[in-house]
Amino acid sequence: MHATKEFNKKAFLKQFLLGLHVSNSVTNSISIQQRKNSIKLSADLAMALARGRTHWTHALITKLGQKEENKTTLQGILGRRYEILMARYSCPLLYQKVQRSKKSVRSYRFSYAANRRRSALKGSCVRVPPSVVARNLEHRRTKVLKRLVPGGELLNGSSLLSEALDYVISLKSQVDMMKSLWRATQVSSSSRNVELIPSAPLQRKEASCTSK
């Protein structure tokens, strides 16, 4: 079916750690917010880089690169690729609002207005035929989905759905990776604090106690 991220866990992890190293060196962030942002940046970037070349990965990287505070970090992580990517995908037209077709907007408004008129004549509540209701719902939700999926503003219909599919897969694997990383650090930190081996020399115990 679609490419899964099964094989990219190592790439993701490597990229993630690399990104963390870079962001650690680049920024001296003290606050938790900043640290969280840098971690999130590294994670997103790692996910996008590990996935390869799809529409949403490019859109995500471009979006990340457009923010001022991320630029240095991105440059450190991507190196030479940064300039190439930014030059290629920083076209301002990319993320402008897509011009809605006037025809569809007009027809939509017309049907809605017609319904209102009809119901006003009958004096009852707005009676919208179920097809229009379904279309409205779908339209609204497609808009929301477009906002959620990076680069989705430009896509339509089935391509939007396929990009969303890919994005969901990558997100899921990203979350899984981060969860297991968290668990690993949890376990390691807890193990450090526990006296594991009775015969362990005293100095090691002290070292472990003081390390965390």
Binding site: L17, R35, S158
Partner: protein, 382 residues
């Protein structure tokens, strides 16, 4: 080639006939100068071709390139091609290149429409299935104007068509994976044919031939729309499998809602996890044992929730995972000039460089690690 084709014709015909009963596909196109071609190769779960059909048309692939020409693609065709790339894992361009469309005589086309759809369905389905080599579908279309009556019965019709349509210019049909037509379309696609092709019998114009379903409008617009809708519904099915708890949900709007909720929850989880990770690591340095244990998780199937696996795996697996990680790290580094990368990789190397995990691990390692490996098991297993 032609001779070979003719030789195989009977064989293919019989095999094809046998398969008609099984297949529920529309017919495909016919190759020029070939007696009869069917497109072998089911592409995936949607196709139900018999294997013997596959065996019978091994030569099809070789037939296609000479007769290839520009493809005047329908919008629906492009959409379908893109969809097929999902199934075939690939090469839309190759698929496009290999599909050969040509226009048949309009009369013949209509008559072909009249005939039973099963054979055609089969051909078209096989064509869709064919990733790179679909092109000649056996059949008809224009093959037999004279055999309209005989075409009522699918099997017979197919035979007749094969005989007739042998010399016809091929018409490539790209059909939907979802079985297109029930059977004799009343006017299968006369409108589309008219719009797309001239009434030139031996014209080798390419176009995309879509079968209309029985009782459905055959306007070219509505056909393209149907193609689009089917694509969307297919994506929805995939998403339904992916998003948990959506198996019982039907309808586009509700599915979209679920998808949106899922994406939002995943994004929120990412934020939350990054917050947690930043909280425990004041300096954003993930200790190497975390990496190693993570690589352990990677080597296991899915993320294992307990590091108690460690004693079971033993140290050899740890070595392997370390080496894998190292390899991944080394090979993927694209910009060797980046000093930081060097540092990071060197760090990885130094940490992983100790292939053995000797009990006398130095304190250069994070203190807890060797505790983890040596004695941690005992504690963790509790």
């Amino acid at each position: 080639m032609e001779i070979n084709d003719k030789d195989n014709f009977e064989l293919e015909k019989n095999g094809y006939q046998v398969n008609y009963q099984n297949a529920s596909f529309l017919a495909g196109t016919s190759m020029p100068d070939l007696s009869w071609n069917a497109i072998p190769g089911p592409s995936g779960p949607n196709l139900g071709w018999d294997q013997n059909l596959l065996c019978q048309f091994p030569k099809l692939n070789s037939f296609l390139p000479p007769s290839l020409s520009d493809i005047q693609a329908d919008s629906g065709f492009i959409e379908r091609a893109a969809k097929y790339s999902y199934f075939n894992g690939g090469n839309v361009s190759a698929m496009l290149g290999s599909i050969n469309n040509s226009v048949l005589d309009q009369n013949k086309r209509t008559e072909n429409f009249v005939e039973g759809g099963s054979n055609r369905r089969g051909l078209e389905r096989s064509e869709t299935g064919e990733g790179a080599s679909s092109g000649g579908c056996g059949q008809e279309e224009g093959t037999s104007s004279a055999n309209a009556k005989k075409r009522k019965r699918p099997n017979q019709g197919n035979e007749v068509h094969q005989g007739e349509g042998a010399r016809q210019s091929p018409v490539a049909n790209c059909t939907e994976d979802t079985g297109e037509k029930e059977e004799k379309g009343e006017e299968k696609k006369p409108s589309e044919n008219q719009t797309k092709n001239g009434s030139d019998p031996a014209n080798k114009e390419e176009y995309v031939h879509i079968r209309a379903r029985r009782g459905q409008a055959t306007n070219s617009h509505s056909l393209a729309e149907r193609v689009r809708r089917e694509k969307i519904s297919e994506r929805m099915k995939y998403l339904q499998d992916l998003v948990p708890g959506c198996s019982k949900v039907t309808g586009k709007a509700v599915m979209l809602d679920e998808i949106i909720n899922y994406v939002q929850s995943l994004q929120r989880q990412v934020e939350f996890l990054s917050m947690k990770l930043s909280a425990i690591n004041p300096r954003l340095d993930f200790n190497i044992e975390g990496i190693l244990s993570k690589s352990l998780f990677n080597s296991n199937v899915g993320p294992s929730s307990s590091i108690g696996y460690l004693p079971d795996l033993g140290q050899t697996q740890l070595h392997l995972s370390q080496q894998n990680l190292l390899h991944a790290g080394m090979t993927d580094i694209v910009d060797p000039a980046d000093a930081l990368r060097r540092i990071a990789s060197a760090q990885l190397m130094s940490n992983i460089g100790l292939k053995e995990l000797p009990p006398q691990m130095s304190n250069a390692w994070d203190g807890g690690f060797h505790n983890l490996t040596r004695g941690g098991c005992q504690d963790l297993n509790n």
